[in-house]
Symmetry: C2
Subunit: 217 residues, 2 copies
Amino acid sequence: MRVGELSRRSGVSLASIKYYLREGLLPPGERTSPNQATYDEGHVHRLRMVRALIDVGGLTVAATRDVLAAVDDPEVPLYVALGRASGTTMDPGDQDETQDETWAAAERTLAAAVDERGWAVSDENPAWHTAVGVLATYARLGDDDLSAQLGLYMRAMEEVAEREVAAVVDRGDRARTVEGVVVGTVLGDTLLAAVRRLAQQHCSLRLLGETPLRPRG
Amino acid sequence: MRVGELSRRSGVSLASIKYYLREGLLPPGERTSPNQATYDEGHVHRLRMVRALIDVGGLTVAATRDVLAAVDDPEVPLYVALGRASGTTMDPGDQDETQDETWAAAERTLAAAVDERGWAVSDENPAWHTAVGVLATYARLGDDDLSAQLGLYMRAMEEVAEREVAAVVDRGDRARTVEGVVVGTVLGDTLLAAVRRLAQQHCSLRLLGETPLRPRG
């Protein structure tokens, strides 16, 4: 199909398609003349993925490119790409000045929790740095509730991850497995955050006596 | 203290402080002359919160302002502010075109899951719209694994929310309670996402035989 139909089918504007081609988020179409190319169903699907990761997952264009690189390249360990694929990343520029005693204490807290739970994880996983950063930030704000919740978070996320990894294992095709993991992880972050807020509304209704603006239905 | 000391104490640049003052994220200091104001410990603390929400929580400046408004204004229901305080928000401009049969089916899925769990939540909670949007997006990508995980997510988040709401109930002071909830929720999103990726690494090591780049320690 021509680029016009690709735009219509995917619901993505021509300007955005050109931008994604330029940034390497969308592979080029097959050239049919110096000014024309044709696209296939794979391009429609890829564009839907790109929009899901950006619009719903909240990823930046750069993070989306990193994530899609893992889908396309079997050499990139999945967990490295997923670790980078957060809606937020700690600014590496701040890293040096944050490596103080608070940071070291936060890292010891995480290491102890991981060892207690028996997780085999690497501190090269970008998520390690992010988790330490959150714990250190919270400690600097004069609080440590999040350290206290850490074990609960780990238990809850282990149950979620176990089911999710098992669900994609037998998809067979590697690209399809990786795609499922990536999209499920990024969209799952947003869904988890939303479900958490619904749960908070339910619990604060029960525990604090707050009333909803208007009950559903 | 003068603005220079406020910058030094909080680690936030003068340019950023002026920007936050202009955008209403930081309340003005007390004017001592037409060109000078003094700031107090409350300003230092507020600046640390602003940076935590933006740098670690991944909020936009606009979302940060919404969240801080709930800390300052007892009239804003907490869950409305928290629902807005996600690292990502569904673009309301897309709302009309997304209200198709896929969207309606996603909303029925969420409503059934919420009813089954006995949650008293309002569809005016912005998180409701976000959750429906994620489920609909995932269905459009030709998959429905996330609907299958929904019950698991809800159970995990109810356990987390229950403990978190209970932990802040007896702080007494409303502003301090709300601040604890807000910061814990926004930073908690980032921590949950990071812990989820560590759990995935652990589970994929066990289930897929993937090896870490280098084990920790």
